[in-house]
Each structure stands twice: as C-alpha cells, then as structure tokens.
C-alpha cells in the first residue's frame, strides 16, 4: 500500500452548514482493490464526507485528487463521470419509472437521438445479474417494488455506471439477511476487479467481515485510520464516542406480575401482513418487538394505533374491548395511547414549525379549552418536558428542523409524553441518533414504565431489546414466532427465532446473521 499513490485522496476538506461545522479538515486516502470502512456516530461527518466526494455538496475548503490530479465536482453527474458512484441512504430511484429506466438513468443508450429500448433492457438485465437480483423484472415500476428490492435496484444502477470508486452509505440497512450475503459476494468480487469501495455501516459484524481498512470520524474530524482487525470493538466504540464505553442500560427491576394488563391483542390479523397475533403488555412493563426488519412489526404498531383498516381480532385496553379507528381516538383519554412513529422527519415532526408548535401538537386538547389554546398552560407543560428530556434547543420558537437528530427525536417523544399516555408504542426510536441520546432514552423508558406506563418497543438493534425489555416478542412473516422473557433474551435466541430456525442451527452460521 505504501509507496503506491492512492486512487483518490482528500486533503483538508471542510464544510460548514450555517454556524455548524459538519466536516473539519478531513483527510482520506482511498485505494483501488480495497474496501475502506468509515465509522462514526451520526453527526460525525460521514454523510458530509461522502456527499462532498459524490458531488452532492460543495466543500468550503480543501482539495480532492483523483489519480493524482486535482478535481472538483459541480454536481453528482460530474462525480459520476469521473467514476465515483454513491449508493445513498435515501434512495435515488425515480418511483414512476421502470427498473430498466432507472438503471440507465444517467446515460441512457441512444440511437438517432432517441433512447434505444432494446439496448437499455440488455444493460439493465446485465446489471441486475451482476448485483445478484435477477428476480427483478426490468419493466417493473420502481414504486411497485418493496423497499429491499429497491435497494437491490439501487446497487444494480450503481454497477451499471462502471464505477472506479463505489460508495455504499448504509446500503444494507433495508436488506434481508439473504440479500446482504448476496451483496457481500458481489462486493468482494468488485474488490477483486480492482474497484475501490467505501463502506459506511453501523453494523460492526459487516465491517469485520468486509473491510480492509477503517477510518473513524468524530465531530467532523477524522480520529484515526487503521488496518481492519487491529482494534477491538470496544476500542473502536470508544474512538467513536470519545469517552469510555460503559454499560448503557438501566437495571431492570424485579418483575411485578401482579400489575394489571394495560394492552392486550387477541388473534389480531390484517391482510396478509399480520397473522393471528396475540400478546399482552402489563402496566410497568417494557415489551420488545424483535425479528428481522419488515416482518410485520411496524404494521402491528400501526394496527394498534388505529391506522390500518380491516383488522380482525380483538384489542383490549385496560381490560375493555375497544375498536380504534384513528390516531385521534387512540390518543383520547379513554385509551391514552401514543405512537412514536418510524420516520421522525415525515411522520413525527413538522420540521419548519417551531419547537413549541411541534411539542403541543399531540396534546392540543390538553392545553386548550373550547378550542382556544391557553398559552400559560402550554408554556408550563412545554418547559417541564424540555427539562424532563433535557432537550437542547436555543428556544421554543425556533424551527425544530434546526435541532440535531437526537434532540429532534426527543421532541417527538416529548410531544407524546405531554399527553400523558398510559400505553406507549415505539417504532425503532433510536435509529439514527447518537449513543449519548440513546442512553438517555433507555433511562427515560424505564422511568416511564416504573411510573406505570405499558411500553411496546420495536427495535432493529438487538442490544437494545436485550438491554431494555422485560419480554420480547419475535415476529416472523407477520406472526409471533417466539416470546422470550428475562434471562432468555440473548442475542443468540433473538437471532435464531428471527430467522425462524432452531438454536443449534443458528450457532453454526453466525456469519450470515448480521
């Protein structure tokens, strides 16, 4: 490696957004035939780094060299032409165009100035095959594909551009385990072919399996670059968070089996996505939902919250049979339910609106009389929430979009706590927020449970389920496959039931399980 000039080099690149520095004098070398992993918490500058590399944003200072020559990218298109292709976390596919149209989108094959459909079809089929996604029909519209298939199209699209440097930003987060292993085969083959790969992931297992070298970022600066396998996981995490890594979960109290059941479902079903789901949550209990992503967990939470139509089966709240037909009904005094939704940017918050408006939005009935908002009541409640969750904001009249991701998520949770819910449903609430905030949330959840709330908590992070939950329901294909309680909640048990295989089988093939 030493002595050979790197394929791509970044020197002293910085970027500021407003007053916030997202990237500060970053250096990075990317070599051909290597997989380079980028690690760091959210907000560490990873996204900014790759956005600059891919021409999505322009750097404030610093320079970039490709093959030793200085380059600047005016747009993603120019970066693509230079051979740098990025697979973004937010998908870049056009929903109303077909898979084939999308794969060739930047440089469609033309004949006499018009798009050559036959050739386009062949290119698409070839790219899909290279990505290991032959099952996708090139004429399908992208919007008709499920998320995991779209991600495969995204990868095929990137490959069709014949990149020299391929950047994968959390590209596996929406994929099933089977797809991930397919993609890994593809990525390793690309490395053999001499491509440089930049791999960003939160999943340590994946990085351990793939990476040749790793760079850790923190607060917009590069902390260290090292050869893969030379540092322990604990060392890496400490580098990422910049302080000592300690057990982040609050202790679980002894189980109080006598508490009344707050929420119960009896053979709840919905289309072909939820199948005969029965469970109960007691007041004071945190029940986790586990399993691979997309096995019906989100649908279950939405069904309980009255969003889905045509559910069958029974739901009982505080022992009473209820039929909830809207979130408005679910949050009402009789039921007292809250749902922390999946996507805080589109479902939890109105980003351009103020912190105040967002916080009061779910509890307008509580702070008003006769439809008129009582500002004093509102102010007092908001103050108490900001204090309770330690929300860091420059004031309550600034747009919530100006807050950091972690603080935004706190606002989503606080807005529901203002309504004093007795049943709290959480849909992967810690996704994309930093370790420090996560820890605060774990403590908060336990506190709420201790105060008598019943909590149903879906998480894609197994550590969280193990650390936080009193019981975990593992879903597979829309049905509860297994219920784990107490010490039986282990990573092995979770993974095994998530894959719907027995324990012995699971122990033998750990590589696939990430």
């Amino acid at each position: 490696m030493t002595g050979v000039a790197p394929l791509f080099r970044m020197e002293g690149v910085s970027k500021r957004y407003g007053g916030v520095r997202a990237l500060e004098k970053a250096d990075l070398d990317v070599n051909a035939g290597r997989i380079h992993a980028i690690l760091g918490e959210n907000g560490a500058g990873k996204s900014t780094l790759i956005k600059i590399m891919a021409g999505v944003v322009a750097p404030d200072e610093g320079r970039m060299l490709l093959d030793g020559r200085e380059v600047t990218f005016a747009s993603p298109a120019t970066a693509n032409d230079a051979g740098i292709v990025c697979i973004f976390q937010e998908l870049s596919l056009i929903p109303d165009l077909s898979v084939a149209d999308n794969i060739v989108i930047s440089h469609p094959p033309t004949r006499f100035g018009m798009i050559d459909r036959g050739k386009q079809r062949r290119i698409a089929e070839e790219a899909l095959a290279r990505a290991g996604a032959e099952d996708i029909h090139p004429q399908m519209l992208v919007k008709d594909l499920p998320l995991s298939r779209r991600q495969m199209v995204e990868i095929a699209k990137a490959l069709a551009r014949k990149p020299r440097i391929l950047i994968l930003d959390e590209a596996t987060s929406a994929l099933t385990a089977a797809d991930v292993s397919k993609i890994f085969v593809v990525l390793k083959r690309l490395r053999e072919e001499g491509l440089a790969l930049l791999y960003i992931s939160h999943r340590m297992h994946e990085i351990a399996e793939l990476a040749d070298e790793c760079s850790v970022f923190r607060n917009g600066q590069k902390v260290s670059t090292y050869a893969a396998g030379t540092k322990s996981d604990t060392d890496v995490i400490e580098m990422m968070i910049g302080r000592e890594y300690k057990n982040v979960f609050p202790p679980k109290p002894a189980k109080a089996a006598s508490a009344p059941v707050a929420l119960e479902a009896r053979s709840l079903s919905w289309t072909d996505r939820l199948k005969n789901i029965s469970f109960s949550v007691r007041a004071g209990e945190i029940v986790g939902l586990g399993g691979l992503d997309g096995q019906g967990q989100r649908d279950l939470l939405l069904a309980l919250f009255g969003v889905l139509r045509g559910c069958t089966g029974e739901v009982l709240v505080h022992g009473q049979k209820v039929s909830i037909s809207s979130p408005a009904m679910a949050k009402g005094g009789k039921i007292g339910m809250a749902l922390i939704p999946e996507d805080r940017k589109t479902e939890g918050l109105m980003l351009p609106m103020t912190v105040r408006d967002n916080l009061s939005f779910a509890s307008l009935d509580r702070i008003s009389s006769g439809g008129i908002v009582n500002r004093d009541t509102e102010g007092a409640l908001i103050d108490s929430m900001i204090k309770l969750l330690a929300i860091k904001t420059a004031g309550i009249d600034i747009p919530v979009g100006a807050l950091s991701g972690g603080n935004q998520q706190k606002v989503v949770i606080a807005k529901w706590l203002m309504n004093q819910p007795r049943i709290i449903l959480l849909n992967d609430p810690t996704r994309g927020i930093d370790v420090g905030t996560k820890q605060e949330l774990y403590v908060l959840l336990r506190k709420l449970a201790d105060e008598g709330a019943a909590i149903l908590f879906y998480s894609t992070d197994y550590d969280e389920l193990i650390g936080c939950c009193d019981r975990v329901l593992v879903l597979y294909d829309g049905a509860v496959k297994r219920e784990l309680a107490g010490d039986a909640i282990t990573e092995k048990a979770l993974i095994a039931s998530a894959l719907n295989i027995d324990m012995e089988g699971a122990a033998m093939q750990p590589a696939e399980l990430a």
Binding site: P327, E347, M350, I372
Partner: protein
C-alpha cells in the same frame, strides 16, 4: 393606511417575516410613486377609498389564505363570489323575509360549494386544483341556468348596500369594518385556536398531523367551507357595492386573491404565512391597480405591468432554496 402600517410594525417587528416587511416597503414605494402622478394620492379621502376597495379583496383573500396554508388551492372562487352575489340578490326580492335572509343565504350558498370542495379534497382525496375547477364549472352552470345567461335583474337588498357602502362609525366605511372583523377572526383562528395549529400542521405535513391524532380530514373540509363562505360574503359585498350582481363578476378576483396571499409571504406549498402578510398583499394589489388607473394606463398596459410587478416582487423575496 400608512398609519396602520406604522402602527402594526413595532408590535410585530421581532417576529416579522422578511417577506411581510418587503411587502410593506413596496406599499410605501407605490404610495410615493402614486403621489408623483397625483397630489390626491396621499389624501385621506383617497386612501380611505382605496381601503374600501381593498376590503372586498381582503375578505375574499382571507378564505384563500386559509386554503393555501393547507397547501391547497381554491379555483372555484370566481363563481362562488358570483353565486354569493346572485343568490343574495335573488332572495332579496322576496319581501321582508327575503331582505333579512339575503346576506346569510348568499353566504350559506357559498359555504355549501366550499363544503363540496372540502369533501372532495379531504375525504375523496381529489387534488384541490381539479375538484375546485369542477365545482366552479358547476356553480357557473347553475347560475347560467338561473339567469338565462344574462345579467340578473335582481338588485341588492338595502342591508347589503348599507354593508358595502354605508358608514356606521363616521369616517370608516362599513366594508372596511367587515374586513376588519373577518381579519380579526382569521388572526384569532390561526394564532389562538387548536384549529389554527392544525391548519399549519396539515400544511406542513398532513401525515404527521394525522399521526398526532388530528382529524385532518375534518379540518380540511371546514377550511374549504370557510373559504367558500368568505368568497360568497365578498360577493354579497360586491353586489351591495354595485347594487346588483353580474355575470362573471368574480373572474376579476381569482388571480388578485392568490397574488395577494402569495405576495404577503404565504407559501403556496402551505404551512407558512401570516395574516399580516395577506393584509399587506391585499393593499399592495389594490394600490397597484389603483395607480395604474390613475396613470390612465390602458387595460393592456395594466395587465402587463401588473404581471411584471408580481413576478418582480416574488423574485425579490418569494424564491425557493437552491439545491446546494
């Protein structure tokens, strides 16, 4: 009017949108330009007359603003205005009971059309641009059938004329009071009530509002009903002003109403905007039209300048953010 702007400014200065400030600056510039052409331009009588003319647009634009705050648009406005004018004038002909019911009935008819729009947008999820276009066509069809395609002979009731042209408080036309009442109501609705919060929330992201337990469909429906009612009320006032209704009298109000709302800094995409801005936009449009007529500009020149000024002012402050 200049009094009003200087009065409004200090109280709102801290939270003032740059768009609103710019709009008021533009009003000031227009007044200066106008005074060059005619000394009368700054006289209290003339300004009061302008304020009175602005009131009709102000009432109509208030409803349009609510709809635009939701991120929707109400293109049924022209014929809802006409419906308000025609139905109230028609009812006014039926003796004493008719005279009493004229105004409420006109507003009620507008509200019904607004309700149809609201049901279509909220419950049937039809794009507002389409459903309001269709109801506009239906309203037009109904009025054409009713009047036989000619200007109706009905004339406005005395109450309508009094509301549009009379003076209850000496020196202040009733039309201005009507606008002030509608405006105060709108401001109260938007800033003090849960309904107003819901309107802004839905305009920003209806999905998040729904998941927060807001009955978003009901809110959308009511807003369209209000918009219809206010447009019809504007029509009632206009009929009172001219003493009678006329075919397609509402056509001249659609574009000014949208322009006034948008020039006042309300985002056409919804979720952002203040009523003070709409007030500024209404005055701006009215003054612009007035100056053009004072300058004895022929109709074609008025149209051209009108369009260029709107584009110019929006380029000044109504632009979206760039990609990078």
């Amino acid at each position: 009017m200049s009094d009003m702007t200087s009065m409004a400014k200090p109280a709102f200065l801290k939270r003032l949108d740059p768009a609103v400030t710019t709009a008021f600056v533009c009003i000031f510039v227009l007044l200066l330009v106008g005074s060059i052409y005619s000394r009368n331009f700054l006289s209290p009588e003339y300004l009061l007359q302008q304020l009175k003319v602005a009131s009709f647009l102000g009432v109509i634009a208030s409803g349009m603003m609510l709809v635009i705050l939701l991120g929707q648009i109400d293109l049924s406005l022209p014929w809802v205005v006409t419906v308000g004018a025609m139905t109230s004038s028609a009812i006014a002909g039926y003796g004493d009971a008719g005279a009493i019911l004229a105004i409420p009935f006109g507003i009620f008819c507008g509200m019904v059309i607004g309700l149809v729009n609201g049901v279509g947008v909220a419950y049937l999820r039809i794009p507002s641009m389409i459903i309001t276009l269709a109801t506009n066509a239906v309203a037009q069809g109904l009025m054409v059938v009713y009047t036989g395609g000619f200007s109706p002979k009905d004339s406005a009731s005395p109450a309508m004329r009094y509301l549009a042209t009379g003076f209850t408080i000496p020196g202040i036309p009733n039309a201005v009071i009507c606008w002030a009442v509608v405006g105060a109501g709108t401001v109260f609705l938007l800033t003090r009530t849960t309904f107003g919060r819901a309107v802004y929330g839905i305009g920003n992201r209806e999905r998040a509002a729904y998941l927060s337990g807001i009955d978003t469909r009901r809110v959308v429906m009511i807003v369209f009903a209000i918009s219809g009612a206010l447009a019809a009320f504007g029509g009632v006032l206009l009929a009172g002003y001219a003493s009678k209704a006329a075919q397609s009298m509402g056509d001249a109000y659609l574009l000014p109403a949208i322009a006034a709302v948008v020039l006042g800094g309300t985002s056409i995409l919804g979720g952002r905007g203040s009523y003070l801005g709409t007030v500024a936009g209404v005055m701006l449009i009215t003054l612009l039209q007035s100056i053009l007529s004072v300058m004895q500009m022929p109709e074609f020149g008025r149209q051209i300048i009108y369009g260029i000024v709107i584009v110019g002012m929006l380029l000044l402050y109504g632009r979206e953010r760039a990609h990078r």
